[in-house]
Amino acid sequence: MNVPRGTVELTGVGKRYGRKHALADVDLTFDHGVTGLLGPNGAGKTTLLRIVATSIAADSGQVRLLGRDPHGSQADVTAVRRELGYLPQELGYPSDMTAFGFVEYVAVLKEWNDRERRVREVRRVLSLVDLTDQATVRVGRLSGGQRRRVGLAQALLGDPRLIVLDEPTAGLDPAQRADLRRTLSTLGHRSTVLLSTHQTEDVAALCERVVVLAGGTVRFDGAATDLVATAVGRVWLADEPGDDALVSWRTGTGRHHVVGGTPPTGADPAEPTLEDAYLLMLGPDAQRLRAPA
């Protein structure tokens, strides 16, 4: 099979923990560009990313990464891992290491054996995440956002073709998110970038493509603009909350933002946002998610 570079192919992939299906029969293909996985907690985002990062194997279905079987021969596994950058959801940072020391340690694990090239590469990725001046600070003394960026830096080592980021924006402030967006958009030209988040703003800002996961299945897969389009005609601004609305909340102007259901009397159609579309996509699950603003 002739597989283009930078491709992730999942066919009928399933994973269960005990009797609970974390993923069920997922078919997805990713090519280069930035894709956001959106979904509530427990939707299967982390499970999917861990499978793509070769951290765990699927129970059923077929996984092909960069044209190889990630759990086949040792050669295949290693070949895939050489082209992989992974930021796990929970990454412990040994607090007595410096940011530089940490990234260098990971670089050695990624087989950057030549000292000079390794040091140069470590500096490069640290400057990509704007941590050049903090490179020598012990990780234990960095802020949460800076630590997250250290984690991101190691995922960028060697410009991998497959970059898997589990909640990269957790703990970042708006300015740092903007920086991350810039970094990712340049990476997306060459690499396949998969990231998870439960914040729709991230997806709107960072991703060309969105996959909405819920209950271990794919609810939507397409361009971010197409996701927004699914909500056209189902969002209103009204003086009262809708009786059968999926969710509604009072906005800053005092009117109610009503998503789904029938329009209350005197409602004006509103321009849907990605969040509206996401909530509608999740259906009844959404009520738990949207706390009144």
């Binding site: 050049t132 001046d133 020598t136 012990r138 003394r141």
Partner: protein, 189 residues
């Protein structure tokens, strides 16, 4: 760490104590060059000078907490740098230069303008003339202790004489200078 708004040297040293590499870079940009220039006048091996400057800033990195905030960062750095050079060169007298006070060093010597001399003179007054009249061994002691800030013990090591000799020469040199000048200058002990 950017230069605007202006950050004082002492604040940069405090940041270095918190392992901020950017602050160290800024201090290096402010002080590296003149330390380099001042050391190269005292050592004719450029490699040694590069290493001493490096050692100085690495020492600053490690010991930034020891900086007492009532002093000047520049003077503190010079103290570290020159002491390191002296101890490094203890066994290599050939590369230590003790400035020659008698002869202008180069044929195409640039003479400071009259104004420059006057303004530079503010630092030393008539001292220049008085210094020139000192005998060479007295001058080298004045150079090492008064101008370069070594202790008499360190100066003794640098000059290859006993500490007591340094003390005696320094004492006599000061006395001669006092006689030459009508009154003691600021900065003299």
């Amino acid at each position: 760490m950017s230069t605007t708004p202006f950050v004082t040297d002492a604040a940069l040293v405090a940041a270095v104590a918190d392992k901020d590499a950017g602050a160290l870079r800024e201090l290096y940009e402010r002080h590296g060059a003149w330390l380099h220039a001042r050391l190269i006048r005292r050592c004719n091996d450029p490699e040694v000078v590069v290493e001493v400057v490096q050692d100085t800033f690495v020492a600053l990195w490690k010991d930034a907490r020891r900086f007492r905030h009532d002093g000047e960062v520049g003077a503190w750095l010079w103290g570290i740098a020159f002491r390191r050079m002296v101890s490094r060169l203890r066994s290599r007298k050939d590369v230590v230069l003790i400035p020659d006070w008698d002869v202008p060093a180069a044929p195409q010597q640039v003479l400071p303008s009259a104004e420059d001399l006057v303004l530079l003179g503010v630092e030393y007054g008539d001292l220049a003339a008085a210094l020139r009249r000192l005998s060479p061994e007295f001058r080298s002691v004045v150079q090492a202790v008064v101008l370069d800030g070594l202790t008499t013990k360190e100066a003794g090591r640098l000059l290859g004489v006993r500490e007591n000799t340094v003390k005696t020469r320094l004492h006599r040199a000061k006395a001669q200078l006092r006689t030459a000048l009508t009154e003691p200058q600021e900065g003299w002990r």
